[in-house]
Amino acid sequence: MEERKRQPLKPPRYFILLALAEHDSHGAEIQREVLRLSSGQVRLWPTMLYRTLEALRLDSWIEELTGPEDRPAGESERKRYYRITDQGRQALRIETQRLSELVEVARLRNRRRKEETA
């Protein structure tokens, strides 16, 4: 498990975790949120969306909310709500850390290159 957590996360997984980081959500909303977060770059088609959700669930990174008290008042019972788990948050943190390190490296290199050419 430790090994896998250090591997880069695929964009759909990362964005779904990111979408769930703030509050619980359901399929269509997650999809919209991912589209927004990625500025329209990551579109999760329906089958793909639910397959990824199922995979994340099997990894115990997210959980499905079953009790009626978990869903917001007035929401249909047909909708499946998901919540990020502690493990999921950890994975998200690790990936975010990795990405920010990557960004830092990229900036450094870019700056150095500029100085050299100047």
């Binding site: 896998r4 088609w45 329906p46 089958t47 793909m48 397959r51 995979a55 047909r78």
Partner: protein, 931 residues
């Protein structure tokens, strides 16, 4: 429509998901997909939704496949690392690419074979795509209006005779439109041919005379200018405004300041108030009006072919309008019917004399006709089905051909397969490899087919527009339907020509395949007959097509030689229309009389006459009549509807139609309204009305509603009987004809007939002087056409249809024959090559070359014979089916059956003979040595 199909397919795909995943998620996935589809359709239109839906479908297919793979791995036991397999999905893309690359290499290795295969497929698919795109334009493509499926035609149905319909009167239309509850709006319109002045010549174009709410109800926004105003709709309004089609606007140089310009239509100035958007071609799939006029000018422009007096639009008994309604949001067809029936009942009780027998029904709008009765698309649909099934047969032949070629090839590749199977490649992988190769071929063929379809139908349409004076609305361009149909053909051919051979080829036992030379030993190389079934089927299908082709060709030959019943040689016809100059009744009457006198006085003209219509013309009018002695309202009375023509004196002599008994019409009957009405019937009509009796001196009566003239209401005497005319090549039945004199009532558009002394050449030479004579009588007279009668028949639509049918089928039949010949040749060449060693041994043992030839040829003969027998049976059945469409062919012609079989048999035998001769000419030593 496409959305419904897409979501159904999506649901179907999801059913293939592994049960565990499906029960958990399928409903959610489907719901999300449908929500999206609706959303995109609402915001981006149906095309965007289609593309979007397709992408979603691909996602579902990909996901389902992956889930199944995962489920399979899970079933295999705990050894398989389920968790990791999920994150590292089996990426198949690489293997697919590998297959594609390998396939391309294999195909490139045999460029000739590959090119032939692609060509065959492109022809087969292209033919299908071409025919389909024609019928797509005719029947399927929606007309460019907002939500075309919410538009319904309203029809005025006779309650006592449900098959009988009539148009609507303007007051009835107003009453219906004002109080309807099921329709948000009802529009009224009627088509007219009008004369449009361009430079010094008058061109005839279609105009649609419409109510003021027409464009708003159809949901067509004008590109420039405004729609018609309600005051322009008022009957008798003097406001002459016109809206022009986009193509007419372009035709006049796309002038940006066209609004406010004056168009001269039928001699009167109309102000252009609007220009329509490019895609809008009116309500029909065929006729594209160029000008739209408001209802207020109806009386000035409407055509009166029947010769009835100019009628008043505001009169409730003037039934001339067609109605189209737009259903209210949420209203159904049934509600519309109930609503209309209620309104019709109110009209009937308010005006029992006029509307007593009529009700109003709503039906879907026909695509290809403007008509007062519903359901005019059926014959075209039948023709479409016939043609499409024929083209599908051609594709089937092409596929069998490819299957043969493929089979021949895969038997030589058997060793390759065996090696690969022995090395552990799965059969599935092999099949996929073969299918990828085939898919590459099919794809290339489909592209070639689409290219073919992009110009072939246009050629056909151009050949028909040369005959017709009007612009056709048919847009042959590809749309998703054509692409989908082509794709369908592609998949169909893939399954037929690739899947079966692939399954068969890979079933081989590797050990046997690996053994050097395999079974190609001395004997036993004969390919069993059942394995040659594809070739036989191909032969039989080709023969069937040839027989149908033969029937069409024979019909067209017979039609061009047909006895028309009259003598067209030396005849001239001129189509003239003074109403296009805006003349009133009296003035046009006197103009026609002067014209007739002028032409009759010309040297070399034997006789001349006017008629309302011309045989083989584009327009046919009929009137329902009955015997005068039968009660007018009785049920079971013969009431034929003969073709009705108003004619002048000398008409029959000018046409060359023999008068069998009685007399012809006199000059008084031609010119004077005081002359008593009389009629002349042809033999066919006489036989239908009074079978076995003499019709001369008997009396007929027009059925109610057929005439408006007071003195034609009573019994009318038959004063003459003339010969029959065959003026329809599409049916073998003769239609009856009824002739009546003008009695001074010359209508606006007339046909001038003249007979020139000295035959056909003299007629051609007389054309310029007749034109001069017409223009001397009236310098601005619009001459819509002037030609010899023979040429007129040659150019007629019904002859064109028969000939175009013949040409199309010659193309199909020729293609089928060619494909079948190639197929037979390919298979025979392959079999013979496989038996070369056997032939060599036999010859070494003393068999003569002739014996060897016969040995090989015998199989080919059997093949051809069995195939031909099947083909004859198929062809006889198909021939029965099509002969009802055709002129003259009373059932199947033995000569056609015989000729077709002979042609196919000889071609097939030649294809067998060539490889057989090569085998028999082989040197035994060489044959024994060769591998």
């Amino acid at each position: 429509m496409s959305e419904r199909i897409l979501s159904a397919s999506h649901r179907l795909v999801l059913r293939l998901l592994p049960a565990r995943f499906r029960t958990r998620y399928a409903a959610d996935i489907q719901r999300l997909y449908e929500e999206h589809l609706r959303d995109v359709a609402r915001r981006g239109g149906s095309w965007r939704a289609f593309v979007f839906g397709l992408a979603g479908l691909v996602d579902a297919i990909r996901g389902t496949y992956a889930e199944r793979m995962i489920a399979k791995l899970r079933r295999r036991g705990p050894a398989a690392p389920i968790q990791s397999s999920r994150s590292k999905e089996p990426v198949k893309m690489e293997t697919i690419l590998q297959d594609v690359r390998f396939g391309l290499r294999t195909l490139a290795k045999r460029p000739g074979w590959t090119a032939a295969a692609i060509l065959i497929l492109a022809l087969g698919i292209g033919l299908n795509a071409s025919i389909f795109s024609i019928f797509n334009a005719l029947l399927l493509k929606p007309v460019f209006v907002d939500q075309p499926d919410r538009l319904l035609g309203c029809y005025n149905q006779n309650t006592s005779k449900p098959d009988s319909y009539r148009p609507f009167s303007y007051p009835d239309y107003r009453d219906l439109a004002e109080v309807t509850t099921a329709f948000s709006n009802i529009v009224a319109h009627n088509l007219a041919l009008v004369g449009l002045l361009e430079g010094d010549s008058t061109r005839r174009v279609f105009a649609d005379i419409v109510s003021s709410n027409f464009f708003e109800t159809l949901g067509v926004p004008l590109q420039q200018g405004r729609s018609f105003l309600p005051e322009e709709e008022e009957p008798g309004s003097s406001r002459r405004s016109a809206i022009v089609s986009h193509s007419l606007w372009r035709h006049r140089g796309s002038d940006p300041r066209i609004l406010g310009q004056i168009l001269t239509i039928n001699g009167q100035g109309y102000t252009v108030v609007g220009v329509l958007p490019p895609k809008f071609t009116g309500l029909s799939g065929i006729i594209a009006p160029d000008i739209w006029l408001p209802m207020g000018v109806y009386q000035d422009v409407v055509n009166l072919f029947g010769g009835t007096a100019r009628t008043q639009l505001q009169d409730r008994s003037t039934h001339e309008l067609l109605l189209v309604g737009r259903l209210k949001e949420g209203a159904s067809r049934r509600e519309a019917d109930a609503d209309l029936a209620g309104l019709a009942a109110r009209l009937a009780s308010a005006f029992p004399a006029i509307n007593g027998d009529y009700t109003v029904v709503a039906q879907s709008l026909p695509r290809i006709a403007f008509s007062t009765s519903p359901g005019h698309d059926a014959p075209v649909q039948a023709t479409a089905l016939l043609l499409l099934s024929m083209t599908l047969v051609v594709l089937l032949i092409a596929c069998f051909n490819l299957a043969n070629m493929q089979a021949a090839r895969s038997s030589t590749r058997r060793r390759e397969f065996s090696v690969r199977v022995a090395l552990g490649v799965g059969r599935r992988r092999l099949i996929r490899q073969l299918l990828t190769e085939a898919a590459l071929l099919a794809f290339a063929g489909a592209i070639g087919g689409l290219l073919l379809a992009s110009f072939a139908p246009q050629l056909l349409i151009e050949s028909i527009t040369r005959l017709m004076p009007i612009r056709l609305a048919m847009d042959m361009g590809w749309d998703w339907r054509v692409v989908a149909a082509t794709f369908g053909c592609c998949v169909f051919s893939l399954v037929v020509f690739a899947l079966v051979p692939a399954l068969k080829a890979t079933r081989s036992n590797p050990a046997e395949g690996l053994r050097d030379r395999g079974s190609e030993g001395v004997g036993g190389t004969r390919i069993p007959l059942r394995r040659q079934l594809p070739v036989m089927v191909e032969i039989s299908l080709a023969l069937m097509l040839l027989i149908v082709t033969g029937l069409f060709v024979r019909a067209s030959v017979e039609a061009s030689r047909a006895e028309v019943g009259f003598d067209p040689s030396g005849g001239l016809v001129a189509n003239v229309d003074v109403s296009l100059l805006g003349y009133d009744r009296t003035r046009s009457g006197s103009t026609y009389q002067r014209l007739l006198d002028r032409v009759r006085a010309m040297p070399g003209i034997r006789s001349a006459s006017l008629a309302s219509l011309v045989p083989f013309g584009d327009i046919v009018l009929s009137r329902r009549i009955q015997r005068a002695e039968d009660p007018a309202d009785a049920e079971n009375v013969t009431r034929p509807t003969p073709r009705f023509t108003l004619v002048g004196a000398d008409y029959f002599a000018t046409l060359g139609l023999p008068v069998l008994r009685g007399r012809t019409f006199t000059l008084a009957e031609e010119r004077s309204a005081q002359a008593a009405p009389k009629v002349i019937v042809d033999q066919e009509l006489a036989d239908r009305l009074w079978p076995g009796e003499d019709a001369l001196g008997r009396q007929i009566r027009y059925a109610s509603g057929e005439t408006d003239s007071e003195d034609e209401m009573g019994p009318i005497e038959v004063v003459g009987i003339v010969g029959d005319i065959q003026d329809d090549f599409l049916s073998a039945d003769r239609s009856p004809h009824l002739y009546a004199p003008f009695r001074g009532a010359f209508q606006s558009q007339l046909v001038l007939h003249a007979k020139v002394a000295g035959g056909e050449d003299a007629a051609v030479q007389a054309l310029p002087s007749v034109r001069e004579a017409i223009l001397e009588t009236e310098p601005r007279m619009p001459i819509l056409s002037l030609k010899t009668f023979r040429f007129h028949i040659e150019e007629s639509l019904s002859l064109w249809l028969v000939r175009a049918g013949a040409k199309t089928f010659v193309l199909f039949g020729g293609l089928a024959l060619f494909l079948a010949a190639v197929g037979v040749y390919g298979v025979r060449a392959h079999t013979v090559a496989a038996r070369t060693r056997e032939v060599g041994i036999r010859m070494a043992l003393g068999c003569t070359a002739r014996g060897a030839l016969w040995l090989i040829l015998r199989e080919g003969l059997l093949l051809t014979a069995v195939g031909s027998a099947m083909g004859l049976a198929l062809g006889a059945a198909a021939g029965q089916l099509v002969s009802s469409f055709l002129y003259g062919s009373g059932g199947l012609a033995l000569s056609v059956l015989f000729t077709s079989t002979f042609v196919l048999g000889s071609v097939s035998m030649l294809a067998c003979y060539l490889p057989a001769r090569r085998a028999a000419g082989v040197d035994p030593v060489h044959a024994l040595r060769c591998d």
